[in-house]
Amino acid sequence: MPSDSKPILELRSVTKTFGGISAVSDISLKVQEGQICGLIGPNGAGKSTLLGLIAGSVLPSGGQVIYRGQDITHLPMYRRARIGISRTFQLAHTFESMSVAENIMIGIDDHKRLNVVEALTGIHPSASSAAKLDAVMDLVGVRQLADLPASRLTFGQLRMVATGRAIAAKPNLLLLDEPAAGLSGKDMDAMTAAIRNVRSNGTTVVIVEHNMDVIMQLCEHIVVVHLGRKIGEGRPEDVRQSEQVLEAYLGT
């Protein structure tokens, strides 16, 4: 990936303090379009806060968030979702009283329009989204569970459904918060395959993850954070050998 290509996302000296404690301090980074970018660091490093700052669930105390050349620093999360930023959470956060198919439909639905008359009369002029729905369920391997309520799924299945919901929105930028945490080997393979598939369709991916195998396999670019600061970045092979990174992880 040439370094002068246009970044889809840019953080400029972003800082977030929670009552005097800074979770993220003065972090700048660029994510190139079409990349899979990994965010790594020890527990409490500020990775999830950073992801929240990009998604809009956390608003920064200072600095700027630029997405496709647009300043989105103060844009609320739902507005960011509508311009193509999709995310998952550390806990799956599926809608437990809905079926698997309905959960994925929330990702497919266009939430910009709220047509109450249409909803009350039951007249829906829009074409059926059945084909889209099936494609997404196949991609994350939950099609055979389509009609099951989410409350009856296993942990791994919930994670696949939540990832499917985020992918279904056809985002330009997909933010994944520990997608592989707690997954079995088979589910893990399905997850990495799904992430690769999404990227091959042109989506840029940012992953927060503890599983180094997954990170090293998937990412072209890795950003290392420690105690709220960026302590290194680069290609996987460079990061693996960086002394600063080893120090942060191993505490030597």
Binding site: F89, F95, M105, I106, D109, A162
Partner: protein
Amino acid sequence: MKGGSSKVLSLAALVLAALPFWGNDYHVTVAVNLCVTLILTLSLNLVVGYSGQFHLSHVTFFGTGAYVSAILATQFGISPWLCLMASIAVSGLLAALIGAPVTRLKGLYLAVATLTFSMFIEVLVNQGGTLTGGGYGIQQIPSLTLAGYALRGKYFYGVALLALAATLLLLRNLLRSKFGREIIAVRDHPDAAEASGINPPLIRLTVLVIAAGLAAVAGWVHTFYHLILNPELLSPEWTFIWFFMVLVGGIGDTFGVVLGTLLLTLVPEFFDFAAGQTIFGIGVLMVIVTLFAPRGLSGVIADLLRDRRAITHAQ
């Protein structure tokens, strides 16, 4: 469960539709009041059950619908049919006004804020002078007419049934739509809903406005059946009674809410309870339901059916 509940509902619809042929005036009054109460519990359930907001001002939207209709028809001579539109509009607007500032409040805070609003409106109407009739209410409301015929008594009953049927149909459509999914998503996980592009406060507010519009329809039916308004109908205690009907039947479940409303409306009527006895009975029932059947009657029935199916399977 789905097949069973639709059979029960069809049977209930048949009994209700046939009522004027065998019932007397008293029966018709009970049935009209039942239709009104069902519209109110179903719309309240949309807010507290499906969208998960503990709004305690439902009686205010009902009362607003009733009063706007009565005032317009009695003092301004406006056609009762136009009054229906005006009632829905004013009640919906009031819901938007009270709803907008409180969409970010949750649980008890929301309950207290909306209950206080409800009490405020009750006082306002009681002090409303000649416009609202103050403590005397409004009398001599003109009847609804259709093609020159006044619809009174059992002839009005058809209008009440139609309003109830329309409510059931609208709610069914709503819950099956994209908007229905958005309502459940916001209730289950507001953060995840927002991450998918849904604006939770807007969804909550829209649900409240729709429920207020339906409550206004109930108010309109009440006004043009009884043709007299008593300010007592604005008492916040009504919201609690409807809320208990929803809880006893099974919150967030249309069939359960219908069942709970039928039970708590018809049983006191059948045994001719005094108002105090009814409240006492509902209180005792609430304690029992909370302790032994937190999902209400529909939850108990679903469990029983599942057990029976399991036993048949085993045999």
